[in-house]
Amino acid sequence: MHLLFYSFLVGSIGSFASLVLTKKYRNKFASFCVVLEGLICSYESLSIISSGKTTTFNSNQLLPFFGIRLSLDPLSAYFILITSLLAIAVGIYQLGYIRHSTKAKTPTFIYPFFFTSMVLVPISNSVATFMASWEIMAITSILLVLTDHAKNNNSGHATQWYALMTHLGAASIFIGFLILSLGTKHQQFSSIVMSSSSLSTIEKSLAFFLLFIGFASKAGATPFHVWLPRAHPQAPSPVSAMMSGAMVNLGIYGIIKTGMTLIKVSEGWWWIVVIAIGTISAIYGALQCVTNSDIKKLLAYSTIDNVGLMIIGIGASGLLATAKDEKFALFMISGVLFQMLAHSIFKGLLFLSAGSIQYSTGSLNLDQLGGLLKKIPLTSTCLLIGAFSISALPPFSGFSSEWVLFEGLFRSILHLSGVNRLAVLFGLSGFALASGLTATAFVKTTGIGLLGVARSSHAETAKEVPPTMLFSTFLLALSCLVIGIVPGYFLKLTMKSSQLLFPAKKLSPNFKYGSIDLPNLATNIDPLLLLVLFTIALLMILLLLKAAIKRKVRITNSWGCGNEYSNSKTQYTATSFAEPLQRVFADVIRPDQDLVVSHVEESRFYVNNITYSNLSQDSIERFVYVPIKRAVTTWGKFASQMQNGSTHRYLSLGFIVLLIVILVLS
């Protein structure tokens, strides 16, 4: 625990130093401090996970009236681990990135605090401490989203949405916690855990759902997600990476913490609702991911999709736990944590690669990119690896994690009964659809963005990014591969971390050479072996071909149905790529399609100009949130008539109340 405090100190030194230091050293020193902080945190969390011990820290000197209560257990250590691993990579990345993007001190100042608050959230052990660190996390991230406000008109809007949604979420969490803490007469989490069974079902349900909504909104689950696809893309890429890769996890942490520890005995139907929300998020996120053309926006939606998967897993685990099948509940939740690790790493990688692409081309719109694999091969390779991971292609991390999730869901279907089983089946279908859509989305991203011909001059003149940025993305890409081929080690880690949730039972899988062999599941995977087989096959084929055929390749123009064309505009764009799916899911996506044909003045039969626009907006935002906003504005306009400036009216209000006072109170 004390190591963590030192790491906070290091971070703060970095941030305050960035206020004082000159431009030349500011980023270097701040990034160094963040990386150091990350290293210390990851060391500490790893040692906590491996020892399985819980350490606490209490002080009344901080936070008036309440005092701070901290407790570091393996579960929270796991979240810290993910956050700090990502922070290390991002810290290295920033060395190169900030130099070009912004010269302001504020982001460098705030960033370490953002990181620190993300470490504080999982170790908070009382309602007040939690809310404080939660809100600090919110506020620092809000400020970071605003970093590029001078260059970008949208960041204001994004920040506004984000701020509002996160505030609503916090309010919901706040009430939920208060119900818990007043029902149990405790405000420390560890004491709430002890006495939460004394709560009535209604109290528990109310608290659970309020907390769930709040955390789900931070995690970005549909329909509380609207802020996410706005805020994550608007932040500078390192921040997006942290937000999508680490901050979102804390929403998941909240859900796990609430449903599995704070409220000890849960109801089955809660988890069915949770699965429903997860499924909707997964499908909705994946759909929007497919139809968007802005890389970062698309990545943000894919975060919603992945969060959906995790929530489905949590729901299934909760159902298993309520069905007293703690063995598999533990397995399921470990799967969720594993998926989270994988997601954090590949999403971090993808966002950082997107940042690199923006760095070298100045654009994130897929419809303007193309041919980057040849122009910036290293960055593109990293992006590709990220895309393969997220599409769950073996042997990358997404495959292993989704396999564990799938197995967990399959087992849940086997072990549950009745409506619970149906719910999990529903979740599994959503999982399947989402994973298919994700693959499509990332074929689109890489295919349109990296392959083909450059669609704009930006892409034409792309140059490779500085080595620090490359190093960081390579690091993450390598992690994707490592996590993918030796999933056993990581699943072991997650099982150790989540052991706390279900202390009694233990499923003992065999983890040999990183493979996962589950005797109780009668199945196994060994991605490393698959990789070896694949490599052998590949090499053999290549050798065979080399031996058999020696003909050279002739480079020509692309075939154009007999025409010569070298126009890059005739390529498929991201929008056209997604068009069939958009059409299939038109009821959900509700795209705004507009075709304007203007004719030549003389004759209607000669077309002058055709403009086709195809805009897919977030339909939930459009049909749920915008009407609410409009209603509030209307009310405000109506109410403002009351304050019409007339002294007489103001006084007469008082007069009426005075009469009432005289009448009533005597």
């Binding site: 000197q61 901080l62 936070l63 008036p64 009236f65 309440f66 005092g67 302001a104 504020t106 007040a128 809310m131 404080a132 660190s133 809100e135 600090i136 506020i139 809000i142 605003l146 406000h149 001078a150 260059k151 008109n153 960041s155 204001g156 809007h157 920040t159 506004q160 701020a163 509002l164 505030h167 609503l168 309010a171 706040f174 208060l178 119900i179 803490s181 007043l182 906003k629 509030v632 504005t633 009310w635 405000g636 306009k637 109410a639 403002s640 009351m642 304050q643 002294t647 009216r649 103001y650 006084l651 209000l653 008082g654 009426i656 109340v657 005075l658 006072v661 009533v664 109170l665 005597s666």
Partner: protein, 498 residues
Amino acid sequence: MLIDLILILPLTSILLSLLFRWSVVLGATLAFFNLALLIFGIVLAFNIETTGPVTAIDATFYADSLSSFMVIVIGLISFLSSLFSIRFSIKELAKNQSTLLEISRYTLLTQIFIFTMLFAVVSSSVAMIWVAVEATTIATTFLVGFRKNKKALEASWKYIIICSVGVGLAFVGTLFFYFASAHIGGPISSSRPVSLDWTFLIKNSKKLNPQIIKFGFGFILLGYGTKTGLAPMHSWLPDAHSQAPAPVSALMSGVLITVAFYTILRFKAITDIAVGRWFSQDLLIAVGLLSLLLATSLLITQKEIKRMLAYHSIEHMALIALGAAAGSEIAIAAVLLHILGHGLVKAILFIASGEMLITEGSTEIAKLKSLLTHKPLLGGIFGVGLLALLGLPPFSLFTSEFAMMKSEISVGLGWVVGISLVLMAVIFGVVVSHARHILVGESSGRQTLKTSKLSNPIRASRLTTTPLVLGLILSAAIGVVSWPLQTLLLSAAKVISG
């Protein structure tokens, strides 16, 4: 002795500003005096902590930890405000918007204003508190009308009429308390009316006739509520706060309204014992929720920063009222912390808006754009201040709101918390939206940068920004660190919650 000093200090300031015309030296001296006031307040608080309440001049003045706390609040805000007054005055004179005489008069009135507030919080007699509160209205009317244009005159007219009526009603309430106290044998009509003393009232409050006290408290709440900016007589507040010069708005919004609320708290303590807690609770909830609803509804379409901040004051007063309704010791301590935090942050924001008026020439939301781009420091202060005002940690308003709501729920007012959270969420959304317009703006960043550099050559002054930044840090510090404030808050809260 300390109380005497605390009163003599502003009297000296008044004398100085009467004797001398305004100059930078005078401004600085006054600022120094206000700083001294703050320090005396702190010393007083420590004194009281060790020796108990102190009195002065034949017990005409009385200070317990609650009073000393209020002195600290007044001292702090006055200091900030008087620092900015220097900048304000220099600019006024430089632009020839005011004559030296007007500035001198402004300075004098401001000092009188501070004096009356101090007088209110250290008076032992509840009637003298009334006299002081009424005097604040008189002192500030001309400050509100400082600009002497149509709007300012209108605002000051509304201000004095509505507040006089309101505070008049509070006097009726005081009379009834006196009446009740007289009937239990409190001496009447001597030159030192013990029966109106707070100490006498609170000591004998069990004996007071509950029905009369109920009647009186209704008037007190309505009357001082006017001055606090609580519904239904809140209407003067946005006008007055928006028209007054920024340093005065800072004082009014930062402390004046809370001094009025301080009075309500004193009466509430008596009422609670005489009648039972439910009574003041019901009334405060009604008033608080109504005010919160009003503030929320009217914030939605705000077009001007200072009006927006003024409605924020109404919101926060409503929150304080709701917190006071909970009534437990923690709740009152949180209310007091909120008073301090709100005063500090609100003063900072008003001063920042004054600086905007100087540098940008306007405080209309529509006219301010991308402030963060071309005045990063000022824009940053304003933005962070708003965040603090919206109750986000690490600023103290978070802690106090959290504690207030927690106490509300623990006395069974969960529904109140629910409603207020919804309303606050609306406020949050609205304010963030306004802030976006001001800070980030719509137009293309680079263009604004160029044009604004040309059109706004005036830079934000260090004299203003440094104290503001320090103030924000202070606000964060009192929200995070318990020592030494928590002890003071709790013992001050004990005064009210018994």
